[in-house]
């Protein structure tokens, strides 16, 4: 189970890394006569077997968003050209749309792949930040004890009890509503880290507080080691906890980004992320006609599932209250 989870995460990360190579089309390219076009069917038979080919989608009715294949001329797929794994010759006006097209006629598959980059990077950086800050604060609180410990613990408990989504929403909403993607990235990273650190700090505090009573910590202090040096001995005890918490934060943050972008408080619409892509799905009639616009939801699900699979293997309950 754990292996399956790791394999899934590794696959998603690899896909994100290789996005320009794997995506058949540029994520911004609009095929204006293919709005909400269904996924392209790939054929391998024509009489006998032959190299995979596709047909061009022709609009039957724009209003009903119905398409039919124009079977006149098969379009061969081109492999390893223009630095892409597979694509269709742009001259033929028959793009390879593995997961159909969205409201602007953009390739959903390519956008999901490109979108994974921002969604994953944001979540990973925010989680790393939360682990570092939370680890440090937790270590200080656990080691110092007394007043400082009380104060830090109270603060983290206060943040923990807040309904994170609302406060995050409020914090984002009081910033200018329209921001360039880079500013949104930094802003969301900071907001997410703000809600992530107390979870980490609470656990690390408990580990360090009990660990500093152990003989080896006493020995280190007796040998004249200062607080920083002792902490360097103590912190490895929290390594397992930090790994688990860090990995649990990633799906939570992916989801938070998706929610923010979905309600229009995240990245600008033109930037492909899993959240901005889901905006199309706000219209229910569209979901019914073009279910492939739910593809980013499937991507999010696979990451959440993968992390739950990994964490379950470490003997921790996959208790993941959405935060």
């Amino acid at each position: 189970m754990k292996r399956a989870g790791i394999a899934l995460v590794a696959t998603v990360a690899l896909v994100a890394l290789l996005a320009p190579f794997l995506a058949p089309n540029p994520p911004e390219q609009r095929f204006s006569n293919l709005l909400y076009a269904p996924p392209t069917r790939v054929y391998v038979r024509q009489g006998g077997f032959r190299a995979p080919y596709i047909y061009e989608w022709r609009v039957v009715s724009r209003l009903e968003r119905s398409f039919r294949e124009s079977r006149v001329r098969p379009v061969a797929l081109r492999w390893f050209t223009d630095g892409r794994l597979v694509t269709a010759d742009p001259a033929n006006n028959a793009p390879l749309l593995l997961l159909g097209a969205d409201a602007y006629g953009r390739d959903v598959f390519s956008r999901v792949i490109y979108g994974s980059r921002l969604s994953l990077a944001l979540a990973a950086i925010a989680a790393a930040l939360a682990v570092i800050v939370g680890g440090l604060i937790g270590a200080i609180a656990g080691y110092a004890g007394g007043r400082l410990d009380d104060l830090l613990s109270r603060i983290s408990e206060f943040v923990l009890v807040l309904p994170a989504m609302y406060v995050a929403l409020a914090l984002r909403a009081v910033m200018p509503l329209v921001l360039p993607a880079a500013s949104v990235f930094i802003l969301l990273t900071l907001i997410f880290a703000l809600f992530g650190w107390p979870i980490v700090a609470r656990g690390v505090r408990a580990i360090i507080a009990s660990e500093r009573q152990r003989d080896y910590a006493l020995a280190a202090r007796a040998a004249g080691a200062g607080p920083v040096r002792v902490l360097r001995h103590l912190l490895p005890a929290a390594r397992g906890y930090l790994t688990v918490q860090g990995s649990l934060l990633i799906p939570a943050f992916i989801l938070a980004e998706a929610t923010m972008s979905y309600v229009g408080l995240g990245f600008p619409d033109t930037t492909p992320t899993w959240g901005t892509m889901l905006q199309d799905a706000a219209n229910v009639t569209l979901i019914v006609d073009a279910p492939w616009i739910l593809a980013p939801a499937a991507a999010i699900f696979s990451v959440v599932l993968a992390v739950n699979l990994i964490v379950q293997g470490t003997g921790r309950a996959p208790v993941q209250l959405e935060r």
Binding site: V161, P163, M165, A281, L294, P318, E322, R323
Partner: protein, 321 residues
Amino acid sequence: MTAFLVRRLLFALVLVAFAASTALLLTRIAPGDVTSQLGPGATQAEITATRARFALDRGPLAQWVEWAGRALRFDLGESFLYNRPVAPLVRAAALNTAVLAFAAVVAATVLGLGFGILSGSRNDTVAAFVRGVSFVSISIPPLLASLLLAFIAARTGWLPVGGMSSVNASEMSWPLWLSDLAWHLPLPVLALALPLSATFERLQSQSLAEALHQPFVLAAMARGVSRRDLILHHAWRVSLRAICGVYGVAIGALLSGSFVVEYVTAWPGLGRLMYEALRARDIYLVAGCAAMGSFFLAIGTLTGDLLLAAVDPRVREAETA
């Protein structure tokens, strides 16, 4: 017990005051104000009048003092968006959210505890199946769950997809209105309750399995207590402690999740109202929603603590002492 309740009530008051004040001041110092809602055609006089109406022509601190003074008398100011007093608006939205959240908690508890007892007390294919289903459900948070359910509902036409009532609901007699509400309720409730019930199921299953391995269960078994009584009367009561401990946390998660569900399924609740208010910089409405939201939170955590005290005598004694 009384001292404990008084202390918690005081804390709740402080939390509500703090949340509402922070929301007010944050909205105030945020770039842009409610006059942008007037549109580009607004005259200078209109803008000045609107700014005066919402005390935006005064300093943030002066505005806060004035607002706090009125809020103490339960006058939460006016909303620009709805052109009505904030208090009844927030109350109506809060009621809708409460209906949704309460139904979700009940559904999650019934499903989670029921299946948790089932899977925690046996070790066969049924238990494995329940475990698998709940594992997948845990990975479907409210955002995905509501999208998925909306898709299924729209595709099959089994349930209405959005809103809380049909268009002609105001003309209905009340039994009809109630059944109309009941028709609209399952989708958002299920979207909210699905991951939560899976969490409860996992917790219940694990804690029951742990409780069944304790010496007192062995002793009861030796006394000839039937397996059913053993699980339901002896082990289950002990295992409840783990569940009740998580209720307090679950409430926060529920409120967060309810925002998404309300947004996706167009449920006219507190989350949607706050979102609209935030976007429009409708300052008093934001503060009112924050006050109501933090009030819910305080009630939720208090309920969690009381539940814990109800099932665990040790907690009860620690609090009364």
